[in-house]
């Protein structure tokens, strides 16, 4: 286990201020919401979230918002373009003296993997290409969870979704590398089970201007078929089995920020989740389980080289 943390070294350093109130309409045990709460703590209060359609759209429901900060729901495909409009408007209004510099905001796109990996990818790559100074927080629950857990490009191989009842036939799209290819200011994977890693990345990225992406694996109790109380534990197993590598890139090189020194078998992560139950019952799908373990082993073998 290696860490490169600079700002958040101990859990005691996590601010007690809450910018995201409880009591929202999201599911109990939502890993994405936990990650967003930590993300917001690291970013501070002066934030506008520009939202694409998904689970988090149900955070701000008339006439309530759980945020002390601002919110703008746009559409499923174009939240990064909304962030462009907000960022540009703030810049222009500040430059013209119509808005005080102290009124500036951090502009954050918040979307699920359905928008980040699929329908919103064009507007995302456009914003990254233009070097827009914004944050993107993607809660990756590996499906269209808000509509009842259908397959998305982020659904992992063999995982069951409502539209792939026999298991997803394709491998998970590599959003991290799609971003990294354009050399954004910062791109990282994070996990709600590793709060210090998450917050330290956000705080360090805050020193950089340009596109900053945080892809959080977001354990999803109803979609993954786990108990809300086990949500963090399953998210932790994703990291400890090597399925969800915690890493970052700025300026090209990929750095793994948490390297499990002795990786747990992938099965330990799969077993507790109903979306993988068909790999164990009624008969054990040995070749598939082997393949999933091999994929993880191959990844880390490449990393070690």
């Amino acid at each position: 286990m290696n860490t490169r943390r600079e700002i958040y070294k101990s859990i005691k350093e996590v601010p007690r201020e809450e910018f995201l109130a409880g009591g929202t309409g999201l599911c109990a045990g939502c890993g994405g919401l936990l990650a967003l709460r930590l993300f917001h703590k690291a970013l501070g209060p002066n934030v506008v979230f520009v939202n694409a359609a998904g689970c988090m759209t149900l955070l701000a429901v008339f006439p309530f918002t759980p945020f002390h900060s601002s919110w703008l729901y746009t559409a499923m495909a174009s939240a990064p373009a909304g962030a462009q409009g907000v960022r540009d408007a703030l810049d222009v209004l500040i430059a013209k003296g119509k808005l005080a510099k102290t009124d500036d905001l951090n502009v954050v796109v918040v979307s699920g993997d359905g928008a980040a990996n699929g329908i919103g990818l064009q507007s995302t790559l456009g914003a990254v290409f233009r070097g827009l100074d914004f944050y993107y927080f993607c809660y990756d629950n590996e499906a269209f969870a808000n509509t009842g857990f259908q397959m998305s490009p982020a659904s992992p191989l063999a995982s069951r979704t409502a539209t792939t009842p026999a298991g997803t036939p394709t491998r998970k799209e590599n959003l991290f590398e799609l971003w990294r290819a354009q050399q954004p200011a910062f791109v990282a994977t994070v996990s709600p089970a590793y709060p210090l890693d998450l917050m330290d990345k956000v705080a360090r990225a805050g020193r950089l201007s340009g596109p900053k992406m945080f892809i959080s694996l977001s354990s999803c109790p109803p979609g993954w078929g786990i108990e809300p109380a086990d949500s963090v534990e399953v998210a932790r197993l994703a990291v400890d089995t090597g399925v969800w590598p915690l890493k970052e890139a700025h300026g090209g090189e990929v750095i793994h920020t948490v390297v499990p020194h002795r990786r747990h078998p992938v099965e330990e992560y799969l077993r507790p989740q109903a979306r993988y139950r068909h790999l164990f019952e009624p008969v054990r799908q040995e070749p598939v389980l082997q393949q999933l373990q091999t994929d993880v082993d191959d990844y880390w073998a490449r990393v070690a080289r």
């Binding site: 907000v86 222009v92 009124d103 064009q122 456009g126």
Partner: protein, 411 residues
């Protein structure tokens, strides 16, 4: 004030420049591109203190435009045809945000078949979105309408975005003399935008565009939009009166041409109204009491005014430069609904000018004959689709030539 020969596109750019807009998100499309090229040049030269950014699509362009307006900037953008329908989802969204964006559409017929010249299926597809719509006939009116559009959109009783339409090619690329008012005079008419309702800043946190649950909450917001759009009718007239006072040019929600004593009326819109006015003059010279009603404010739709102006006529023809396939002319249905139950004149529906197809003089003679028939026989016949025998022959000739060449080449 100066006078210059400007294309419709240049006049649109001048409207944005004189409105001193803060932000111009852009995406190129024929025949709109000259607008953003002109604005890009002025911004680059320092003649317009605005930021311009080229987005990845019209959907993104409209999203950025609406989001910037929601932040508190005065925003201008322009598109056309496929671009408008590509960004269609955002038209409803931006109108629902109640932000005062001004969007220019340079009308161009929709694919398929893909083409460049204008009709109004693009802009009229947006008629239910909540955007107000102003349709311009001349280059001067394009510029003036944009200035009026910002006043309208930013008015506290309205707070809805405005779409200003001009016809591609026929107006976008036609030069006409345009009076350009001085910047100070425009500033007196249109002061800088001070957002009171929708803005984003650290000291003013705001949740915008939030979800609603259930029909009551949704209806609550939609009815507010309806009321605001209705209010825009009288707000438009007030603004138009002030505009006339300051600049000497007046615009109503509709324009009457030779209308006062007209027995037969032809309803048209946009640049082809100029053709219609010429035909009215030709028929008048022959002693026919014909007039023209040009629709300018399409949303909100001025039902009362139109019903009043068409009352007592012998017959009215609505020429639609659009086609709702399976129904007919869109504006015909709107005019008919405005007249319903008032004992109004018999109507005829004519469809023409699709994809920029020109009207012929003889067709106006035929329309007048149809109006006389309507006067005698009433009824509401099927929409009349203008297309001549010679055009049809020409199409068949082209096909024969193509088939012949294919046979010759042995393929």
């Amino acid at each position: 004030m100066t006078r210059d020969l400007l294309t419709g596109n240049a006049a649109a750019a001048w409207g944005a420049r004189l409105a001193e807009v803060d932000y111009v998100p852009a995406y190129p499309i024929t025949p709109q591109t000259e607008i953003i090229e002109t604005l890009a040049r002025w911004i680059s030269d320092g003649q317009l203190a605005a930021r311009m950014v080229t987005l990845d699509s019209e959907h993104s362009m409209l999203t950025a435009a609406g989001a910037a307006a929601a932040t508190g900037a005065r925003v201008f953008t322009a598109t056309s045809s496929q671009g408008l329908v590509y960004g269609f989802e955002m038209l409803y969204t931006i109108a629902g945000w109640r932000v005062p964006l001004v969007l220019v559409n340079v009308a161009r017929a929709l694919a398929a078949p893909i083409t460049l010249e204008p009709d109004h299926n693009d802009v009229l597809a947006a008629r239910d979105s909540g955007f107000l719509q102003l349709h311009a006939e001349t280059c001067q009116e394009v510029m003036d309408s944009i200035l009026m559009a910002y006043r309208l959109a930013e008015h506290p009783d309205v707070l809805l975005p405005v779409l200003v339409n001009l016809d591609g090619f026929y107006l976008s690329f036609t030069r006409e003399p345009v009076d350009l008012p001085a910047a100070e005079a425009v500033r007196a008419f249109l002061p800088p935008y001070e957002p009171a309702h929708a803005r984003l800043s650290a000291s003013h946190a705001m949740a915008q565009g939030v979800a609603v649950l259930g029909g009551s909450a949704y209806t609550f917001f939609k009815y507010q939009m309806q009321r605001a759009s209705e209010a825009a009718l009288s707000v438009h007239d007030t603004i138009a009166a002030e505009f006339r006072e300051r600049f000497g040019r007046g615009y109503g929600a509709v324009e009457g041409f030779q209308l006062d004593d007209a027995e037969y009326v032809i309803v048209m819109s946009n640049s082809f109204s100029t053709t219609g006015k010429g035909e009215v003059e030709r028929l008048r010279a022959r002693g026919e009491k014909v007039g023209l009603l040009r629709l300018r404010l399409l949303r909100p739709f001025p039902h009362e005014l139109i019903a009043r102006l068409l009352a007592g006529r012998r017959a009215v023809a609505v020429i639609d430069q659009n086609i709702s396939v399976g129904k007919g002319g869109i504006l015909f249905a709107e005019i008919a609904s405005a007249l319903y139950g008032r004992g109004g004149p018999p109507l005829r529906s004519v469809i023409g000018g699709l994809g920029g197809r020109r009207f012929r003089s003889v067709e106006f003679d035929q329309i007048l004959a149809a109006l006389r028939d309507a006067e005698l026989n009433g009824g509401s016949p099927e929409p009349w689709l203008l297309f001549s025998e010679s055009e049809h022959r020409q199409m068949l000739d082209m096909l024969r030539t193509a088939h012949g060449e294919r046979a010759e080449s042995g393929s």
